[in-house]
Amino acid sequence: MANMTRRRTVELPDHPDFLWVAEQKPKKSYDVIIIGAGGHGLATAYYLAKNHGITNVAVIEKGWLAGGNMGRNTTIIRSNYLWDESAGIYDHSLKLWENLEEEVGYEMFFSQRGVMTLAHSVSDVRSKQRNFYANHVNAVDSVWLTPEEVKEIAPIVNISEDIRYPVMGATFQPRGGIAKHDWVAWGYAKAAADLGVDIIQNCEVTGFDIVNGKVKGVKTTQGDIAANKVGMVAAGHTSVLANMAGFDVPLQSRPLQALVSPLLEQVLDTVIMSGAVHVYVSQAHKGELVMGAGTDSYNSYAQRGGFHVIEHQLAAACELFPIFERAHLLRTWGGIVDIAPDASPIIGLTPVENLYINSGWGTGGFKATPGSGWVMAATIANGEPDALAKPYALDRFISGHLIDEHGAAGVAH
């Protein structure tokens, strides 16, 4: 069971004055170019260097480091998915989280405060229990909680029976939790840069150099850069890149919004998710409540969504957590998530030789940052899918071997 003592707010330590070369310019060529300096791209570069000894690597980024979804997510970490393939990759990721700060030598405020997923109807209870048993089969830690046990862990939850979405039980993963996303990006960036990786910001890919079906490099706003291998780790912009390289991907880019309250006393020391009411909430280390909403319904690259989505989510949150009625909304923002038809990622080879894809993490990529980087690095280094990544190949949409995680994911991921 999670730590029951109330947490105190913490002050963050000062940053070191040097993390990576901020104004790095690209060399003429690299062994590997990673497109996208978000968490997954930086982790890929780090594991290429650390696990495979490939250090002549550039991570190129059209904006600034971790300026996309890596800096916009709600930082939830868990691995209690439904299917075996998901348990494989997400739990590998969670195991990496458990030693990550020590390994890269950088504080990330990884906190295993547990993740609770509420059930609000009979069918919800049944599907969550199915999930709970599936987790046991896969040796993923999972506990079933009664409403009273929910209340014991999180006293601010309203468990009365006469609310619109009564709490009828919950699954709980004690090893789940949160981390500070920007610190995770900086930690990976520093560790990768220490091993010789170039991190190049303000460098947008405008095309690929492809000869006889084989990628030879990328065209960018900072000139052409040659590479033996290229990895696309570009989240919401993956479709744009894939189209430049001449193939289609089954992804749709949608806005996903999140919000924070001002700093408050600690009232919640676990993570609570509810797919049925479209709320997931945790309280960050400094005291702000962090909440995520569902995706907006339409395709977009605008990094913003409609306020009615936030309003809908807050209405449900205030009923579940009556104490939140006193809180104010400080700030909302949106990111662009790339959603695959089965709500599972697409990792592996592409129709272009030596061009690799890692995308489709949709609304839940943050938790997978270490595992995603790990399998992507192995896939690029070996030129064939890593064992954990193999089920996530692009051709599963032809074979029909979908990994349908819509049920386990709900809206919240």
């Binding site: 289609d248 880019s253 339409y298 605008a302």
Partner: protein, 93 residues
């Protein structure tokens, strides 16, 4: 919130509508003879353009009718909307 131009009712709030994704995705001809690749393309692949996109909406809390409209996915600007089975207006791009 989007202000969506229904071709039957005029502009209305987004909350009156449901989204129907990309417009003009026709059911394949000769469906009995399609390969797995062709089925995958029809079932799973939709263009996901950054820029102008022709898409479907249904005015579910209004006239309850489906229609098509041009919308820019970069800034959510709307172009012309049009009824199904009518001539598609040119992309505003």
């Amino acid at each position: 919130m989007l202000h969506i131009p229904c071709p039957y009712c005029g502009p209305r709030d987004e909350t009156e509508f449901h989204y129907g994704s990309e417009a003009h995705v026709a059911y394949p001809e000769n469906s009995a003879n399609l390969t797995d690749e062709e089925w995958a393309k029809f079932v799973f692949i939709r263009s996901n353009p950054k820029g102008w996109m022709a898409e479907r909406w249904v005015h579910s809390a209004g006239c309850r009718r489906w229609f098509n409209v041009w919308r820019n996915t970069i800034n959510h600007e709307f172009g012309p909307s049009y009824k199904p089975f009518t001539q598609q207006p040119k992309s505003p791009a």
